[in-house]
Amino acid sequence: MKHATEYRDGGLARQLAARITAEAVGRAEPYRFMEFCGGHTHAISRYGLEDLLPSSVRLIHGPGCPVCVLPVARIDSAIRLAEQPGITLCTYGDLMRVPGSRGVSLLRAKAAGADVRMIYSALDAIALARAEPQRQVVLFAIGFETTTPPTARAVRLAAQMELENFTVFCNHVLTPAAIQNILESPDLREFGRVQLDGFIGPAHVSTVIGSEPYTFFAEEFAKPVVIAGFEPLDVLQAVLMLVRQVNQGRHEVENQYGRAVSPGGNEAAKREVAEVFELRKTFEWRGLGHVPYSALRLKARYGQFDAERRFGLRDLAGRDVPGCQCGAVLRGVKTPLDCRLFGKVCTPESPMGSCMVSPEGACSAYWTYKRFRRGATEESAA
């Protein structure tokens, strides 16, 4: 597969890792870099990159998994909607399996009779609304900057077609707000010491927003940011670039992913998002709590397509599964192995928390790619 396989060369990866090992020697402390995106977390686990990297480099998993950061309360609201007669709730695959309060997922609600449909594209929801005019079709929209433009296009189409049975339950969130929240989080400033030395910046999110929005973090928090692709060599190259920035005392935004990311991003997509959406004053994230100006809602002009308005949805108080550590995992202060439920009661087949559902979630990535390796080392140590 062109533009993918070239970046999976194991020989090159080992050579690159050797360069990192040779250069990551400038400090007494390990170099600690957070990969914001779940896509990177997945690649790191899948290709065993942590085994290639020297102990002087630590990768810390961030909250960039759209399914993982959606709080239980929003899942509960979606389930309640889907249970109302006459409503068809459309959503992307992974979301169906996330447990809400009392462990009920959309999939379970569907089995119990709710009309929940899995879609591939936001346009599928529009097609459904046209095909079934007697039903109220609600698009349960989630995701970072990559999935927002498709939702915006769906809303504009619905407006143009004057669809009266289509609405969006909007849960779109913003990457820069989450990064800022992490940088300001007291967890990371234990004993007044900031424990992150830089960021592996989002890949696909940056195709939309560009590399410019990160300039603020690089300057304000004196942290280097390297935007990287999702293939293993992309990630290793980004780590080397970060090590070099730290060694040279620089904190700049660099772009390893020039083949897909430009400084300004996708202007057409940004324009359409700005036409349809506006900022929410605050939004709750799993793990990060309420983050100011971190999410979007439909503008009043498109208010008739806002499911929260049409169905009078009010915020519920959701409850995480007792014992689930997703919140701490998403902030990067715990790893899945710190969770007592991991691999025992919580597996991808029967997830207890959102981080075990999506392949981009840290718990799922650990379970899928690391348990055997870890099992092997534990045995040999015993």
Partner: protein, 89 residues
């Protein structure tokens, strides 16, 4: 939701400005993808897509530069200055 691989545009099937669409090949799996945000994409181009929409066209020139830089540094030829790694533009 974000683990998209680049797909190759086989043909443009709808030119409508609100709903332009193409058939895109993802390593053998062909899907209909909206070109709403990459209206200039043409057959033969590789696009990164999310939930049915192409968000960017892969820049072949930049891809070649990144690969070359990767090989050089892996071989120990590249300088430690970091400039050769397709720096921020």
């Amino acid at each position: 939701m974000c683990l998209a691989v680049p797909g190759k545009i086989i043909e443009i099937i709808i030119e409508d400005p609100l709903l332009p669409a193409a058939r895109v090949d993802f390593g053998g799996v062909v899907k209909e993808i909206s070109l709403a945000y990459t209206p200039h994409a043409r057959p033969g181009d590789y696009v990164l897509t999310h939930v049915g929409f192409a968000l960017t066209v892969i820049d072949e020139h930049e891809a070649a530069r990144t690969l070359e830089a990767l090989r050089e540094v892996a071989a120990g030829v590249g300088s430690a200055a970091g400039r050769e790694w397709a720096p921020a533009r």
